[in-house]
């Protein structure tokens, strides 16, 4: 395995481990904190490890070779378009009061994007021959 891949896995693992810890130990405190400033701070705590995970992904894409970058960006482009289409479709239905969704549905945008990206990236890897 190339050093780049090792670095990516290490950085992503640490960021996601921190995210799980924050979500289990810190985020639940948000509803118990009275002061709006501190409540906002606690509620936004998961954003830090999340940003670290995104940094790992960006570094991985940026430092990949030209062919790998093409595969990443192809998968990212398609997954972005599909998730945009789905979210816009849902927004039209909510605006027309056909369905009811609350703000927490936004939590699903990133997992949908990441899941679709991963699936497309695997499909691309198979198309061009596994590493």
């Amino acid at each position: 395995m190339r050093a780049l891949e090792k670095r990516y896995r290490r950085e992503l693992f640490l960021a996601m481990a921190a995210y799980v810890v924050v979500m289990l130990l810190i985020y639940p405190l948000a509803r118990q904190v009275e002061a709006p400033f501190w409540r906002a701070l606690v509620a936004l705590a998961p954003v830090l490890p999340f940003a670290a995970a995104l940094r790992a992904i960006i570094r991985h894409v940026r430092d990949s070779d030209e062919f790998q970058r093409r595969l990443h960006l192809e998968a990212l482009a398609i997954s972005s378009v599909v998730v945009s289409l789905l979210s816009t479709t849902a927004a039209f239905l909510v605006a027309a009061k056909v369905i009811t969704l609350d703000g927490t549905v936004l939590f699903w945008v990133f997992p949908a994007l990441a899941g679709l990206f991963g699936a497309l990236r695997c499909w691309n890897a198979r198309r061009y021959g596994r590493e």
């Binding site: 190339r2 070779d65 030209e66 062919f67 790998q68 061009y128 021959g129 590493e131």
Partner: protein, 64 residues
């Protein structure tokens, strides 16, 4: 585009992984280039030519 990379690599007894390491790219990239699924950029083509001590046009040829 056709290329002679598999042949040149074979002559030196290198695996795809070894060639990939020498060019600082992934093995999958070498595989995609060898099988004609991906045409490398000019800088990578130059790096390949330099590594094999040959000219770009002697390694890469346009499709007939």
């Amino acid at each position: 585009m056709n290329n002679r990379i598999r042949e040149l690599r074979g002559n030196r007894g290198w695996s795809q992984a070894e060639l990939a390491e020498r060019l600082d790219v992934s093995r999958q990239t070498i595989n995609a280039i060898e099988t004609g699924k991906y045409d490398p950029s000019l800088p990578l083509a130059f790096a390949i030519a330099r590594l094999f001590g040959a000219s770009i046009e002697s390694i890469f040829t346009p499709d007939a």
